[in-house]
Amino acid sequence: MALILELAVQGAQMILVLLLAPLLTGFVRKVKARLLRRQGPSLVQPYRDLLRLMRKEVVLADNASWLFRVTPYLIFATTWVAAALIPTFATGLTFSWTADLIAIVALLGSARFFLALAGMDVGTSFGGIGSSREVMIASLAEPAMLLIVFSLALVAGATQLSTVAAFMGSPQVGLRVSLGMSLIALVMVAVAENARIPVDNPSTHLELTMVHEAMVLEYSGRHLAMIEFAAFLKLLLYMSLICCVFLPWGQATAEAGPESLAPGVVAYIGKLAVCGILLAVFETAIAKMRVFRVPDFLGAALMLALLGTLLLFVSRSL
């Protein structure tokens, strides 16, 4: 009976992230539009886009291989599994004990690998540009992400996200400069990974600057819907990760019982809304940088994460 209940909560979490992901993207777009004094599309526009794309016919290039057709589903599945592993409104869910933060990074990395392969599969020049840029960004973002994981693991004594969240919520975490550096580095990595301004512009098809859009240019119909949905999920995933590690308050725990779940969900949605507003304000305030400056930006994230890890060795606990 207890097992069934746990599985039901885990299933509810997976459904919740699936339902919230397009809403979050719609919310960020709406806030950005309002900041520019435009009306903006309605909040449910991403759902409508997904439904429309699902119904449309798939147009495939003649030389597209099986990889090109499989990749959208692979990307969606890996991103969804990674999102299911993150404690969103409750810690200690059933699936979160099966894999840790490093596994989440690996899942996202394999999704990116397949997307880069699919971008080059048809052999158009835009796909090639997009893939090469994506891999350039990834080669700097992933080491930075792993270093952030290391410094979190050194502080909390585990790479298990539920344990990390429990430690961060307890008073023994103290005031640490390394955690501040990790937070800034994680935000920079998240901005780069989700192809947001200043690294990439998610709403443009201007071919000289695009990274993510260039790779998915050949996709249409339900394939494109899957890729778009995976992109929405990835934004939600990174925001949940930041909230779970650095703002762990209000999460339901396994001991508190099922009645703490509802406040947990409310707190989670509130945290996502705050993150969404912050992201929209940040994106409105800043200009997109040149592609050649992206290595500097991510190099700074890598440097911050590395410095945070180094500073831990002279801190109180180690």
């Binding site: 005031l175 390394s178 410095l307 180094l310 500073l311 109180r316």
Partner: protein, 220 residues
């Protein structure tokens, strides 16, 4: 010792190392000088915190010296010098920013390995301060080595001195006379360097120290 006092000292000293890295990252002269002013402000905060936890009142004087001279007088003076020299405001670096950052990380790691090996039985606060101070000194040297422009070399020299002050306050029982004389000598050095800058500029029409190499007959 209370955990929180240590954490705040760690936060301020770690922030000082971070600001040193920001100095390595800058490629504009004015931005570099503003970051240097920030460095001095963080140093003043750190020294004031040390004065509070060690209950050493003379350290407040050191903090005030850092705040007044290094955060206000010297940056304003450098701004004036740059305006009067009318030089290019972007810094020519001898090495690119990426390798410089990696070198800086390596120096921080080196100083930590060294200090943690050498001082296993010291007070943890002094130990941590010494490790940070050594890395700030090495980073200041790195700024001086990687920049071709004489003004940015001056800034590197000043940030190196901030590291010395941090080391001095971390060790208990540093007399005030020593600190005042150090601060005074830095000010003298600043004035002398300022005079030198104008002389270099008069003779070579540039503060790029590469011009000195040609004058000495060295060829790169």
């Amino acid at each position: 010792m209370n955990g929180l006092t240590f954490d705040i000292a760690h936060l301020l000293a770690g922030g000082l190392v971070l600001v040193s890295f920001m100095m390595l990252y800058q490629d504009r002269l004015f931005a570099l000088i503003n970051v240097f002013a920030l460095h001095a402000v963080v140093l003043a905060l750190s020294v004031a915190w040390q004065a509070y936890i060690q209950d050493a009142h003379h350290l407040y004087v050191t903090a005030a010296i850092a705040l007044v001279f290094k955060a206000i007088v010297i940056p304003v003076g450098l701004h004036r010098i740059i305006q009067r020299l009318g030089i290019h405001r972007d810094i020519e670096t001898a090495v690119g920013i990426g390798p410089t950052m990696l070198g800086g990380i390596g120096l921080v790691a080196l100083s930590m390995v060294l200090m943690l090996r050498v001082t296993p039985e010291a007070d943890p606060l002094a130990r941590e301060d010494l490790a940070f101070a050594l890395s700030i000194i090495l980073l200041g040297l790195l700024v001086m080595v990687t920049r071709r422009n004489a003004v940015s070399q001056v800034v590197g020299f000043m940030s190196l001195e901030n590291g010395l002050v941090l080391a001095a306050t971390g060790a208990k029982g540093m007399p005030l006379v020593v600190e005042i004389s150090v601060a005074f000598s830095i000010l003298i050095a600043f004035i002398v360097i300022g005079v030198f800058l104008f002389r270099i500029r008069e003779r070579f029409d540039s503060v790029d120290v590469g011009a000195l190499d040609d004058y000495r007959g060295e060829h790169r």
